[in-house]
Symmetry: C2
Subunit: 127 residues, 2 copies
DNA sequence: GCTTGCCTTGACGTCGGTGGGAAGGTCTAG
DNA sequence: CTAGACCTTCCCACCGACGTCAAGGCAAGC
């Protein structure tokens, strides 16, 4: 499988695949003319990478999952390192949610105050 | 007031103040030697900018609030444009929260599955 | 041989809010 | 006179996951 074929099969770009390779996520052999040649199993790897990226994982977070797949496990989630990353990510997302809720509440109260002061101060003024 | 004084009073850097100016948020006169000279009212403006930046607003989002302050309102929130931005931001944050909650729940179920399959498949294997 | 379409590496642009530093002018105190 | 503490403009670096050329090699059909 060449890089263009893998890219299309995985629904991404050749640029992204080369990027993953330079960051140690993808592996490719080389044909006589220097083209990258991919094993069929790499399609799974690319799908795992993109799924995790889509959730908000960074490249380094994804490495344990890829390693887990390469170790022969049907899912990248089951290895201890992957589980550790999952736990950490859940905590991060929880913290992010807390921050955003706090911001939202602050914005809401600010909006309420703004509307109230408009009603009281603008009823007879140009506002 | 010179830029260093304003920076210290507002708890930020001169670098940031120049950045705000190039993006149309801050106004400064110039003294004979070319130094920026700030009106006392600019301190309020800088505080408004930094408060909104801290909440996650972008430079463009902040412009209506600054304009509102300059129009003489005691708060930057009360003008129609500011209120519109507030509403939009609240919606954005709400959407962000929804996405993160979804991600968190997906991660949680993935974690549960991973732990379960480890328990069943690793009890007698090297895992 | 020529075109078309793959592939290669390499390097720069993106977005936003700065940090850092260069190279230089200015003001004040000792 | 000089030191140092301001100020000025300008430009590079950063983070992350790529997009987008550029310049060129290789394969296949006509």
């Amino acid at each position: 499988m060449l890089i263009g074929e893998l890219a299309e099969a995985a629904g991404t770009s050749t640029r992204a695949l080369r990027y993953y390779e330079t960051h140690g996520l993808l592996r490719a052999g080389r044909s006589a003319n220097g083209y990258r040649v991919y094993d069929d199993a790499e399609l799974r790897v690319v799908r795992e990478i993109r799924a995790l990226l889509g959730i908000g994982f960074g490249i380094d977070d994804i490495k344990p999952f890829v390693a887990c797949l390469r170790a022969g496990h049907p899912s990248g989630d089951v290895c201890p390192d992957s589980v550790a990353v999952l736990r950490r990510k859940i905590a991060e997302v929880d913290a992010g949610i807390d921050r955003m809720v706090e911001v939202r509440d602050r914005l809401r109260s600010q909006l309420t105050i703004a509307i109230e002061s408009r009603e009281t101060s603008c009823s007879s003024k140009t506002c």
